[in-house]
Amino acid sequence: MTLRTIRVLLCLLALLAAPARAQTMAPHPAMDMEAPWNASAEIERLEGQVGAGRATVRLDGHAWIGTDEDRLWFKTDSRLGPSGAIEGRQELLWGHAASTFFDVLGGAHVDISRDVTRTWLAFGAQGMALHFIDVEAFAYAGDRGRFAGRLRLATDLAFTQDLVLQPFVEANAYSRSDLAGGTAAGLSDLEAGLLLRYEVTRGFAPYIGLAYEARYGDAARSARAEGEQAQRLRLLFGLRLAF
């Protein structure tokens, strides 16, 4: 797991550094026939969490590099514990523009939990649905016939030009329960909340938020076994960063 963690971190760093390199490339000269490359990195949530007697840092973000049509994506939703251990979702995906508003993506998905690391094939779509709702919908196929799915919906509601409320909901479901991985058959966990951010600049926005987190079935049991609550309401403070 340690080796894999290092690899994941290196990958994240490389992709975060990519926009800085890409920015030195000017938009293509008037007659350059090649599609220009772009890159982007965004940390949607960088947040400290205190609960169940241990402090963690949550890092939820993504980075991509590529053209209008094809992009290499790295996505992470990681929790860094006090011991330096990383848990959470890591994805390396190839994305292709499929329609006006949606991309299809495929690649590898790694779930790292305290006791076990599971690797999945990932396939999904993301984009902007009607009424400016950002959608991420993914299906995962793991070893020994395990399947999983993830859905995330979010949208931005502007109070002013700088103060933006983001309601979001994210849910994970699994075909089989997995006590070691801390997941349940059927709907395993759900997070729904409201993040209120203030955009000091487009790339730097502190936020406060309120989130309801719930784990169900065996996921709830394994949470309780680790001394955590299966359902809780959290007050969040964090930073949203774009590069």
Binding site: P27, P29, A30, D32, D68, T100
Partner: protein, 576 residues
């Protein structure tokens, strides 16, 4: 900062003297331009600029019709560059588009442009490489008529409008690619929702929000790059620096207004004075008095004004009302007149999207006049979009009879297409968003009447319909749903006469520029149709122009919004 700017301008003036075209030589007049990159401060923003002979704008080049001119351009930067003579009819290899008409000017290299001037009027030059136009490589190019100006005046000034930022062009592209509303500081909020409910009721407000939500577009999308990053300049100076044009009360002052901006439409007026419009894009018009005109990137208008007071403000507010350029027409330096407030920020409507506006009522001020069909070829309602190429004979083309039409309709749902205008309009007497009903007489394309009849009386032999398309969310632009890199050249035969019809499927204005050949705007003035080099196409509008392909070669044809061109809205026109 003021001092820095002033010192900089003095330096610019000094270099200007050094560039006065030489004369008397048998080789014709010449000019020498040196391009370098240097950090300069304009107003509150210090940034890397691309300077011509040390100044921004670059020096004004002034020649006479009939002369064979030599312009030596030396590149002192560590990257390639180019200069394009916008609107000047030159052989293709002198047009200055890297990769198309020449190889560009490499670092350290000197390139000699040499061409004969067959025309007169107000033109300009700018870089055609990367984002160097944004960074300051532009200047005026004036050609005096061989037999004098058609309209008398006692004095003249160049009024060059531009946009200036300390963000690099590459950073702006990155920002637009990752968050297309990055520079939009006029978005709908809870506050505008409450105001709309108070004004038109909850049901109408919700219906309106639902309609835009279904399109996944924002009616506040007036400009992609705005006053959030730009300062707007008049002859290289900010509004605060107040560039001053000296004049005497009562004399006729000709203002050569050039929009050298990268991304900004300006609405220009001088409160209290009538503007006598005498020239558009370098070509003489039947003079016409207006209060205000909209000028798109790369367009030029010459107006003659008669000052009645010791100071008049030259006011150029941006289309999205996020800022303004300003100067003063004054009898002595240091004078100023009141500066008007910015007009209210307009909103796009469903009609701008080419939607049947009747279904989403409640948008006053931008309504299609019923039965308006002033053009000979109006009534081309675009039906349900069909995919693929088609060749068909169009009906109802008036004088010319049925013309063969080439049209490649964009596909709905394609990656580069976020909208297809279902209801287009083709009258030219609308001044544009935010101008209708402002109480001022605003110039429209229907007003432009050439002083002389066109040189080529032939009717067009065929029509080429091109759709202006884009995907704001992905920040991709193109013709017919395709970016530059996805298409081949548009082929014209030498001396062929064609009609090009542009259909704007996007909800933004596009100033479309055809290099090398004139674009004869088909308005209601028949053979007195104006010759232009850059034509604004408004949202959901259908505009036609005639082209005589009288200069062989490969020519660029593109939207003159810099980042629309860079991100795909460009074609090659091959005359062979």
């Amino acid at each position: 900062m003021r001092n820095l700017t002033r010192r900089f301008m003095l330096g610019a003036a000094a270099t200007l003297l050094g560039v006065a075209p030489g004369s008397g030589s048998s080789a014709g007049p010449s000019a020498a331009l040196t391009i370098e990159r240097r950090k300069i401060q304009i107003g509150r923003r210090r940034a890397d600029a691309v300077l011509v002979n040390g100044s921004l704008p670059g020096p004004t080049l002034r020649f006479r019709e009939g002369e064979v001119v030599s312009i030596t351009v030396t590149n002192r930067m560590d990257q390639p560059t180019s200069i394009h003579w916008h609107g000047v009819r030159v052989p293709s290899d002198m047009d200055g588009v890297p990769g198309l008409s020449f190889h560009g000017i490499a670092p350290g290299e000197t390139f000699v442009y040499r061409f004969e001037l067959h025309q007169s009027g107000t033109y300009w030059y700018h870089a055609h490489t990367d984002g160097q136009e944004q960074e300051g490589l532009y200047g005026a190019f004036i050609i005096e008529p061989a037999d004098g100006w058609a309209e008398a005046f006692e004095r003249e000034h160049i009024v060059m409008l531009s946009d200036w930022t300390d963000e690099t062009p590459a950073r702006i592209v990155h920002n637009l690619k990752t968050r297309p509303d990055h520079y939009n500081r006029g978005q709908r909020t809870l506050g505008t929702f409450a105001a709309d409910v108070a004004r038109q009721g909850l049901a109408a407000t919700l219906a309106d929000r639902v309609a835009w939500g279904e399109m996944r577009m924002s009616p506040t999308d007036l400009a992609d790059v705005t006053g959030a990053t730009y300062d707007f300049l008049m002859n290289g100076q900010t509004a605060e620096a107040n560039w001053t044009a000296l004049c005497r009360i009562g004399e006729r002052v000709r203002l050569r207004v050039i929009n050298a901006s990268s991304m900004t439409f300006f609405d220009v007026r001088i409160p209290g004075l009538k503007l006598r419009v005498v020239e558009a894009d370098g070509n003489d018009l039947v003079p016409l008095e207006v209060d205000e005109f909209r000028i798109g990137p790369a367009e030029t208008y010459d107006v003659i004004v008669r000052p009645t007071a010791s100071a008049h403000t030259i006011f150029a507010q941006t289309l999205d009302r996020s800022g303004f350029a300003r100067g003063t027409l004054a009898t002595s330096p240091g004078l100023a007149a009141p500066v008007p407030a910015l007009d209210p920020r307009p909103l796009r409507t469903m009609a701008d999207m080419g939607m049947d506006h009747g279904a989403h009522g409640g948008h006053a001020g931008h309504v299609m006049p019923p039965g308006a069909a002033p053009n000979a070829h109006a009534g081309h309602a675009t039906g349900a979009p069909a995919n693929g190429a088609m060749d068909h004979a169009a009906m109802g083309h008036g004088s010319g009879g049925p013309l063969p039409v080439t049209e490649n309709r964009p596909s709905a749902g394609a990656v580069g297409v976020d909208n297809i205008a279902e209801t287009t309009w083709s009258d030219l007497d609308r001044p544009g968003i935010g101008l209708a009903g402002n109480g001022r007489r605003v110039l429209t394309y229907a007003d432009l009447k050439a002083r002389l009849p066109g040189a080529d009386p032939r009717p067009p032999s065929r029509e080429i319909v091109l759709h202006l398309t884009g995907n704001m969310q992905r920040y991709i632009w193109g013709f017919d749903g395709r970016r530059m890199e996805d298409t081949g050249p548009l082929e014209l035969r030498v001396d062929e006469r064609v009609r090009i019809t542009l259909v704007n499927d996007t909800m933004m204005e596009h100033p479309v520029h055809l290099h090398g050949l004139w674009s004869e705007l088909e308005n209601a003035h028949g053979e007195f149709r104006p010759y232009k080099h850059t034509i604004i196409v408004q949202p959901a509008q259908r505009v036609s122009f005639l082209v005589t392909a009288d200069e062989p070669g490969a020519w660029a044809f593109h939207c003159h919004l810099l980042y629309h061109m860079a991100l795909g809205m460009m074609r090659t026109v091959l005359v062979a």
